[in-house]
């Protein structure tokens, strides 16, 4: 369990916090946010590696605010694994054993077997692949049986082909050790596949906290909506189940009054050359102002009169089939239930 109360850290011109956060024991908690938002600094504050300006840190029911990093029951795994380059894999894993004061639930042999490190024990870190390095760093952090494992973007430096394997290893480790994991990531796929709960941090403060599904599908602020990839985020005036956005009336499933925001996932915005009778309650005519390739998908921007510019994400095949190019007049439509109101 991790509990942060009013935690703030001042590092050069950057202020982290104040942060209040509780992560129950045995949870896999995801910490997300843009680069420079303070994710790593928060992990280092928990680990005792960044001095607190204010607040208290509790790990496994013990107030560790005044403790040195080695007396906090916290293990850390960095993005670059931070293996000691002059020590072999075995020496790296055994590094912390001599400083242990209590018993560990995991023996060296057990962890080596669990993470399949037996053939690598005699190697130096420079002879390891990215995935092998991270597995070694995980074993090194777990061998002292800390109450909490902090993972600082452990997958971001790995090739795509290694990522899946390490994700599975992390899941298995979390399940079999029952240790609290807190992991920072940029990758939504990591968050969705590993995390149970999470938080998004922005400019040193928690923007939103909740289950991973809530973070992605019910963003509470315009920043959150754009952070999780909802491209069509607009401020609106609400009258029941109708949101007015720059003169355009957009039907919503949820009713409310006053000011607020709406967001429409670009995947939910359908493009057609002719007006088609469907159950979709929002349909507008507009002209294409831009087409951007994003891998196998394309993002098409459509200007709808004086209303907002809507972005639709479609396949390249659909783009070619409809003959979409800049200046083409077409129809955009989306369901009222696809409009997220906040």
């Amino acid at each position: 369990m991790i509990s942060l109360k009013n935690v703030s850290v001042v590092y050069r011109n950057f202020q982290l916090g104040p942060v209040d956060l509780t992560v129950p024991g045995e949870e896999f908690f995801m910490l997300m946010g843009p680069t420079g938002s303070g994710k790593t600094l928060l992990l280092e504050a928990i680990a005792g590696l960044a001095p607190l300006h204010s607040g208290t840190v509790t790990v496994a029911e013990e107030d560790v605010t005044g403790n040195s990093p080695g007396r906090r029951s916290v293990g850390i795994v960095y993005q670059d694994s931070a293996l000691f380059p002059h020590l072999t894999v075995e020496q790296n894993i055994r590094y912390g054993i001599r400083y242990m004061t209590g018993e560990s639930r995991f023996g060296f042999d057990e962890l080596v077997k669990l993470l399949d490190l037996q053939p690598l024990l005699g190697r130096l870190p420079e002879k390891l692949s990215g995935g092998e390095k991270q597995r070694t760093a995980l074993a090194r952090a777990l061998v002292t049986d800390p109450g909490v494992i902090l993972l600082d973007e452990p997958l971001s430096s790995l090739d795509q082909m290694f990522k899946g394997g390490i994700r599975r290893e992390l899941k298995k480790l979390h399940r079999e050790t029952g240790t609290t994991f807190m992991m920072t990531t940029h990758d939504f796929a990591d968050a969705l596949s590993l995390g149970t709960r999470g938080a998004v941090i922005r400019e040193g403060r928690i923007e939103q906290e909740g289950t991973v599904e809530e973070l992605f599908y019910s963003p509470g602020t315009p920043f959150m909506a754009s952070f999780v990839g909802m491209k069509n985020v607009f401020s609106a005036r609400f009258r029941g189940c109708c949101a007015e956005v720059r003169g355009m009336e957009i039907h919503t499933a949820a009713g409310r009054t006053g000011g607020g925001f709406i967001a429409v996932p670009p995947e939910a915005v359908v493009l057609s050359l002719q007006p088609v009778e469907t159950s979709e309650r929002n349909r507008f005519r507009g002209s294409v102002t831009g087409v951007e390739q994003t891998g196998s998908l394309c993002e098409v921007s459509v200007e709808c009169g004086s209303g907002p510019r809507l972005i639709s994400r479609i396949t390249r095949k659909s783009l070619l089939k409809l003959g979409i190019e800049e200046g083409l007049e077409l129809y955009v439509s989306f369901k009222a239930s696809a409009v997220h109101v906040f």
Partner: protein
């Protein structure tokens, strides 16, 4: 691939510089006859001066290592107001004329200065003693050690030290098990550089301690009294012995460089 005219010009200048550096040293090695060199090895004054040079410069290098290491680590790891000024102060001995160093050290260690009176009360003499020689040698050579060691510490990622501390190691233990082995090569390089600098010092030493004579002072005296021919054997023995020691240190400290 054939080198173009640009690289031919570069090669020409490289060869000219190498010749410029090597020719005087080759002459030192070849000018004295083997008989003169053999006699020099049995000349008590020459061997006494050479051994005193090796002793005082070795001691100076050890002192630089001991007192310079914490200082270099501090410069590598901590940011503080006035840090660039502190770094400039460290480099001062490199840029000021060395007789000035000798005069400055004599001024603060003489009886007219409070520090000199304290040293005198403690029975420590600077003027005309090996202690005085070591003092000026530390002064002129410590920037070489601190700069090399600082670069070595900077090259060790902080994350390695942080990871070590979360695994239970104290700062001191982390320094001993992680930082020192990874920066050790730079520290040895710094020690060799500071020893080399100390070994070649003349200007500051001749002010503080003409006697007992270190090798460069003896060379100067023999050159003035008897001419070039009699100073060259001293130079040959000094260069030969110091090269042997530096090569040995290099070999001992060499090993596979660890990528951090």
């Amino acid at each position: 691939m054939r080198s173009g005219p640009f690289f031919r010009v570069c090669f020409f200048f490289a060869a000219a510089v190498l010749l410029f550096l090597a020719l005087p040293l080759l002459n030192i090695a070849t000018a004295p006859s083997p008989a003169i060199i053999w006699d020099s090895f049995h000349d008590g004054e020459i061997m006494g001066a050479v051994l005193l040079s090796l002793y005082t410069s070795g001691m100076a290098a050890v002192i630089c290592l001991v007192v310079g290491t914490p200082f270099a680590y501090l410069l590598a790891r901590k940011d503080f107001r006035g840090k660039s000024l502190v770094q400039s102060v460290v480099d001062i001995p490199i840029v000021i004329p060395h007789p000035v160093v000798g005069i400055a050290i004599l001024a603060v260690t003489g009886r007219n200065h409070w520090l000199g009176r304290i040293l005198s009360d403690l029975g420590i003499r600077i003027m005309g003693t090996p202690t005085g020689i070591i003092t000026v040698l530390v002064f002129v050579s410590i920037p070489f050690y601190i700069n090399a060691a600082r670069e070595g510490f900077v090259s060790v990622p902080r994350r390695l030290e942080k990871a070590s501390m979360t695994l239970g190691a104290s700062r001191l233990s982390t320094f001993g098990r992680i930082t020192l082995p990874l920066a050790g090569r730079s520290m040895v390089t710094g020690t060799i550089m500071s020893a080399a600098r100390a070994l070649s010092e003349f200007g500051a030493v001749v002010v503080v301690a003409y006697h007992p004579m270190i090798a460069p002072v003896l060379m100067f005296e023999r050159y003035q009294a008897y001419g070039l021919k009699y100073s060259q054997p001293v130079a040959f023995i000094l260069v030969a012995m110091s090269l042997a020691i530096f090569i040995l240190l290099r070999v001992l400290s060499s090993g596979k460089r660890v990528r951090t």
